[in-house]
C-alpha cells in the first residue's frame, strides 16, 4: 500500500511517499529522510532521545506513526540553528557542559525548547529537573543540563523572539 503525506519539516514543505503504515516518525527521519540527528534510545517512549516538536509541542517521535502526521509541522534538532548561529538552548548546553557522549543531547535540547515554550518551569531548577525528567541521560550530565535550561530560559525570557540567536 502506498500513500502520501505532507509535512512541514524544519520550515520546508515536504511531500512524502510511504509504502508502509508501520513507519514511525523517528524511523522516517532516520532511515528514509537521511536526518539521523534525532536519536533512538528505546523505541518505546521511555527515554526521550527521540524528542522532536510537532506543531510546537514536544513528543516522542518513536511513538508517533508517520502516517498520522499529514499536515503537521515538525521541528528536529537539525532545524534549530539559523545557519551558523546556534539556538540559545544549544549554546547553553555547550556553555554548561550539559552533555557528555551527546547521544541523548538532541532529545534533551528539543525537550528543553518545548519546556521553555510551555512556560511552566521558568528558571526554577526544581521545576526544570521535573520537566526534563522524560529525557534519560545515562552519562548523567543532569547538573549541566539543568544549568543550561535555566540559562536559556532566562535569556529567552529577556529576548522572547529569540533574536539573541
Amino acid at each position: 500500500m502506498s500513500f502520501q503525506i505532507t509535512l512541514t519539516l524544519n520550515g520546508t514543505a515536504r511531500e512524502i511517499a510511504l509504502d508502509d503504515t508501520r513507519v514511525t516518525l523517528l524511523d522516517l527521519l532516520r532511515e528514509r529522510l537521511e536526518m539521523p540527528g534525532t536519536k533512538k534510545g528505546c523505541d518505546r517512549g521511555q527515554c526521550g532521545a527521540c524528542t522532536v516538536l510537532v506543531d510546537g509541542r514536544r513528543i516522542n517521535s518513536c511513538l508517533t506513526l508517520a502516517a498520522t502526521l499529514d499536515g503537521a509541522e515538525v521541528t528536529t534538532i537539525e532545524g534549530l540553528a539559523r545557519g551558523d548561529a546556534l539556538h540559545p538552548v544549544q549554546q547553553a548546553f555547550i556553555d554548561n557542559d550539559g552533555l557528555q557522549c551527546g547521544y541523548c543531547t538532541p532529545g534533551q535540547i528539543m525537550s528543553a525548547v518545548g519546556l521553555i515554550a510551555e512556560g511552566t518551569a521558568g528558571d526554577d531548577p526544581e521545576r526544570i529537573r521535573e520537566g526534563m525528567s522524560g529525557n534519560i541521560c545515562r552519562c548523567a550530565a543532569y547538573h549541566g543540563i539543568t544549568l543550561a535550561v535555566r540559562q536559556a530560559a532566562r535569556q529567552m525570557d529577556n529576548d522572547p523572539k529569540g533574536d539573541a540567536a
Binding site: 508502509d20 546556534l86 552533555l99 526544570i128
Partner: protein, 746 residues
C-alpha cells in the same frame, strides 16, 4: 609551579568547552547507526525467550515469505565463520554466541537473524520466526548453582590475596562485625545501543561501530573473519556512551558483519533496548561477606572480604569485588577471596569500575558498621586507619592526597555537625535526614598507545591517534595535551582520532585513556620539537644556532631556550629555512614495569551524602552529594567535573535505583527496558558538588594523570547507604535500597 608549566604547557588545565560540542548540539555528530550506505539491508535478530535449553523450531518459511525479507539466518544455514568464536585472539576477549548450534545458554542470546530491505520488514520477519523451545529449568540466582573456586576473576585480576594473618587479626579484635551484602545484576545501558554498519569490498571490511578499543577490536574481527587487521577500517568518531560494554566485540555485531558478507550488501544492525540485556555484558551479581575487626583504639586488625559472584555457564568473568579491600585501609591483616557461580545469564563484563564499584559498596558500609560498633565517628575511623604506604606490600603511593580530600569534603559538607546517633535529624517538612560518607578509591592503570604528529609550514599541526570519545571528552582533553606536547595554541592543532587506520590509541577503559593516548600524543609532539631543535641549532640564521646542548622549550609555536625568554625561533621560520613543508614525529606511551613495581598508583576521594527519608512511605531522596577527589593532573576541569559527577550519579543509581530482575521460571529479565530498569532521571539529582584536590604526581606517568572516569561511583554507594542508616537506624545490606526494605524493617 614553574616545573608544572614546563611539564604540561598552558593548554592543559584550562576549562575549555567541548570541541565536539557544536556537532553534538546540532545533531551533526555521526553515531554508528546514523550511517546509511547505498543498498543497505537492515538486520534484526531474534533473542532467545528462554534461558536454558534448545531451540526446537523456527517458522523460517513464514519469515522468508514476508515482503522485503531477503535472508533468514539460523544455526542450520549460518555462513561459515573462519575464526573460532571460542578462541581468545586478544588480551581482552570473550567467547561469543554466533549461532554455533541450537543451544540456548541465556535469555536474549541471538538464535536467528533476519535481513530485509526495511527496518519494519526485518522486525516483522524476526517476529514471524515464532520460536518454540525445549526448556530446562534456568539458574539465575546466586543460590541456584554450586560455587566454584576462582583463580582469576577475569582480565588478570587476582583471585585470592592474603596479607598478614587474618585468624590472628580476628582473635585480636576488640570489636568485630560480620555482615553480608548483596548487589544485583546491572546492565550498562548506554543510551546509544550497540550498533554496526558493515560493508565488505572483497576481503576489505569497513565498519561503523562504537568502539572503546579500535585496534583491539580490529584484531578480534580479523581473527573471526580470516582477514588482516590492516584490511579493516573501523570508524568510531563518537560513542553514545560505553561504560565498558563497547570494548570487546560481541555476538550480534559479528553476526551482522557475517550477514553482510553473505548478502554482498551493506548491513545495519542496531540493538533494541531489550536486546541490551543479554549478549553485550553486564555487571554480575555478588554476595559479599565482610568480617572486620579493630582493636580498642579503633585500629583495624583484620579486613576479611569474601565474594561470591555470578558468571555465565561458558565463560569466566566476575566482579572481583573483594579486591577493593586491598590497597586502601591500613590493617594488620587483609584477606580477599572470590568464588564464582555459573548461571544461565549472558557473560558479565567490565562495567564502569568493574569489581571496585561492588566491592567499595560493601566495604564502605562495613567500615561504617564497625565504626558505629566501636563508637567512633565514621570519618575519624577512616583517618585512624589511613594507610601511609600500600597495606600488605608496603609500597609507597605515587601520590595520595586522600587526607586533604577528607578534610575538604567534610568542610564543604559540614560533617562536623553530624550527630552520632541515627534517626535524630528531621527536615522542616518532617523527613528523616541522615548523613553518611565513604572513601573513593580507584587504580590508575595505563595501556599502550601510539601517536603521530605533523607540523606544517604555516605553523599548524595535526596530531593523530585512534582514540575513543565515549563522552569523557577525549576530543577535547587529548587535543589540549597534544597542543602542549607540540608547543602550539589549541586552535592551531587538529586532532584526528576515532579511526582504526590511525596509530593505535589503546583501550579507553580503566580510566586510563587520557594518560595513555594523551601520553602518546604528547610524546609525538615532543618528537617534532626535538627535530626542530636539531634543525634550528644547525641553522646559522636561527637565533638558536649552536645551542644544541641547551634545554629547549616549545610554546605558542616558538622554540626557546628554557629559562631564556629572549632567545627563540618560530616553528614556521625553522621549517622555512630548512625548506620543509612539514615535519613528522611519532610517539608512544605505556608504563614501564619498574614503575608499577615500585609504586602503588591510585586515585582517591571522599564522598559525603545527605538523604531524606519519608517516615511513612520509606521513600528515599538524596539531597546533597559532595565529593572531593585527588586524581593527579586534571587536564580539563570542566570535563573532569562532569565525569566525576556522572560517576557519583552512577553511585546513586547503584545505591537506590538499578537492578535487573530475573523471572525465576523463564529466566528472562522482567524489567529489560528503561521504564522498569530504573536509572536516575534529572529529578533524582540535586545538590551535587565536586571538589578536585591538586596532586602533582611525578611517578604515575609522564603527564601526572590518574584518571577520573570511574572513581566517582566508588565511595558514593556506601556514603548513601550509610546516610540511609543514619536517617532511619535501619541497616539495609541489599542493593538497591528501596522503600520496601525500610518498611519491612519496621
Amino acid at each position: 609551579m614553574p616545573d608544572t608549566l614546563t611539564r604540561f604547557g598552558s593548554n592543559s588545565g584550562q576549562p575549555t568547552t567541548r570541541r565536539d560540542g557544536i556537532a553534538k548540539v546540532t545533531g551533526q555528530a555521526t553515531f554508528a547507526a546514523d550511517n546509511h550506505p547505498e543498498g543497505m539491508l537492515h538486520a534484526v535478530y531474534v533473542p532467545a525467550g528462554i534461558a536454558r535449553g534448545r531451540v526446537a523450531h523456527l517458522e523460517v518459511e513464514a519469515a522468508r515469505a514476508h515482503p522485503g525479507v531477503t535472508h533468514v539466518i539460523t544455526p542450520g544455514n549460518r555462513p561459515d565463520l573462519p575464526g573460532d568464536p571460542d578462541a581468545k585472539p586478544t588480551r581482552f576477549s570473550f567467547r561469543i554466541e554466533v549461532l554455533q548450534d541450537d543451544t540456548v545458554r541465556y535469555a536474549g542470546q541471538p538464535i536467528a537473524l533476519v535481513l530485509a530491505e526495511t527496518l519494519e520488514a526485518a522486525t516483522e520477519g524476526a517476529r514471524l520466526l515464532a520460536p518454540r523451545y525445549e526448556a530446562e529449568p534456568p539458574r539465575t540466582g546466586l543460590d541456584d548453582n554450586a560455587p566454584f573456586a576462582v583463580e582469576e576473576p577475569g582480565f588478570g585480576a587476582p583471585g585470592d590475596t592474603v596479607h598478614g594473618d587474618p585468624e590472628a587479626g580476628h582473635a585480636a579484635a576488640a570489636t568485630s562485625i560480620d555482615a553480608t551484602y548483596d548487589t544485583p545484576p546491572q546492565y550498562h545501558n548506554a543510551m546509544e545501543s550497540h550498533a554496526v554498519v558493515a560493508q565488505w569490498d572483497g576481503d576489505r571490511l569497513t565498519l561503523d561501530t562504537p568502539s572503546q578499543a579500535l585496534a583491539m577490536s580490529c584484531a578480534a574481527y580479523a581473527h573471526l573473519f580470516g582477514i588482516e587487521a590492516a584490511d579493516i577500517t573501523l570508524r568510531s568518531p563518537y560513542l553514545g556512551g560505553g561504560f565498558g560494554s563497547k570494548a570487546i566485540p560481541n555476538g550480534p555485531m559479528v553476526l551482522a558483519i557475517l550477514a553482510a558478507r553473505e548478502a554482498g550488501r551493506p548491513v545495519k544492525l542496531s540493538l533494541t533496548r531489550r536486546q541490551m540485556f543479554g549478549p553485550v555484558g553486564h555487571r554480575g551479581a555478588t554476595r559479599q561477606r565482610l568480617r572486620l575487626g579493630c582493636d580498642a583504639d579503633g585500629r583495624l586488625t583484620v579486613i576479611d572480604h569474601e565474594t561470591l559472584a555470578a558468571t555465565s555457564t561458558f565463560e569466566t568473568f566476575l566482579e572481583s569485588a573483594s579486591n577493593a579491600s586491598q590497597g586502601l585501609y591500613a590493617s594488620s591483616a587483609i584477606r580477599s577471596a572470590h568464588q564464582g557461580v555459573r548461571l544461565d545469564v549472558g557473560t558479565p563484563g567490565p562495567m564502569r569500575a568493574p569489581g571496585e564499584a561492588s566491592g567499595s559498596a560493601a566495604l564502605e558500609c562495613a567500615m561504617d558498621e564497625l565504626a558505629q560498633a566501636a563508637g567512633i565517628d565514621p570519618l575519624e575511623f577512616r583517618l585512624r586507619n589511613y594507610a601511609e604506604t600500600e597495606p600488605g606490600t608496603g609500597k609507597p603511593y605515587s601520590s595520595k592526597a586522600l587526607r586533604e580530600c577528607y578534610a575538604r569534603g567534610a568542610e564543604a559538607f559540614g560533617w562536623a555537625d553530624r550527630p552520632a546517633r541515627p534517626g535524630t535529624m528531621r527536615s522542616t517538612d518532617g523527613k528523616l535526614v541522615g548523613w553518611g560518607m565513604g572513601t573513593a578509591f580507584f587504580p590508575s592503570p595505563m595501556f599502550a598507545a601510539e601517536a603521530r604528529a605533523t607540523l606544517r609550514a604555516d605553523g599548524s599541526a595535526t596530531l593523530e591517534t585512534g582514540g575513543a570519545d565515549m563522552g569523557q571528552g577525549a576530543w577535547t582533553a587529548l587535543a589540549q595535551i597534544a597542543a602542549d606536547g607540540i608547543g602550539l595554541p589549541l586552535d592551531r592543532v587538529e586532532l584526528r582520532s576515532g579511526l582504526s587506520t590511525l596509530p593505535d590509541g589503546g583501550v579507553a577503559g580503566g580510566s586510563g585513556h587520557t594518560a595513555t593516548a594523551g601520553g602518546a600524543l604528547h610524546s609525538a609532539g615532543g618528537d617534532v620539537v626535538r627535530q626542530l631543535s636539531e634543525l634550528a641549532s644547525g641553522q646559522p640564521d636561527s637565533p638558536l644556532f649552536g645551542a644544541g646542548n641547551a634545554t629547549f622549550e616549545a610554546r605558542g609555536g616558538r622554540l626557546q631556550i628554557a629559562g631564556d625568554d629572549g632567545r627563540g625561533d618560530a616553528f614556521a621560520d625553522i621549517l622555512a629555512r630548512a625548506g620543509l613543508s612539514e615535519l613528522t614525529g611519532s610517539g608512544s606511551a605505556s608504563r614501564p614495569d619498574a614503575d608499577s613495581r615500585d609504586y602503588a598508583m591510585n586515585s582517591h576521594g571522599a564522598v559525603f551524602a545527605e538523604v531524606a527519608v519519608d517516615p511513612d512511605l520509606g521513600q528515599i531522596r538524596v539531597r546533597r552529594l559532595v565529593g572531593a577527589f585527588a586524581a593527579g593532573r586534571i587536564v580539563n576541569p570542566r570535563l573532569a567535573e562532569s565525569q566525576l559527577m556522572g560517576g557519583m550519579i552512577w553511585g546513586l543509581s547503584f545505591a537506590l535505583h538499578e537492578a535487573a530482575v530475573h523471572d525465576p521460571r523463564s529466566g528472562r529479565i522482567l524489567n529489560a527496558d528503561l521504564a522498569e530498569y530504573r536509572v536516575p532521571v534529572n529529578a533524582d539529582v540535586q545538590g551535587l558538588e565536586v571538589i578536585t584536590v591538586e596532586e602533582d604526581d611525578p611517578h604515575v606517568n609522564a603527564l601526572g594523570i590518574k584518571g577520573v572516569g570511574e572513581i566517582g561511583i566508588t565511595g558514593t554507594v556506601g556514603a548513601i547507604a550509610n546516610a540511609v542508616w543514619h536517617a532511619t537506624g535501619t541497616r539495609v545490606r541489599r542493593f538497591p535500597i528501596g522503600l520496601a526494605d525500610l518498611l519491612a524493617a519496621e
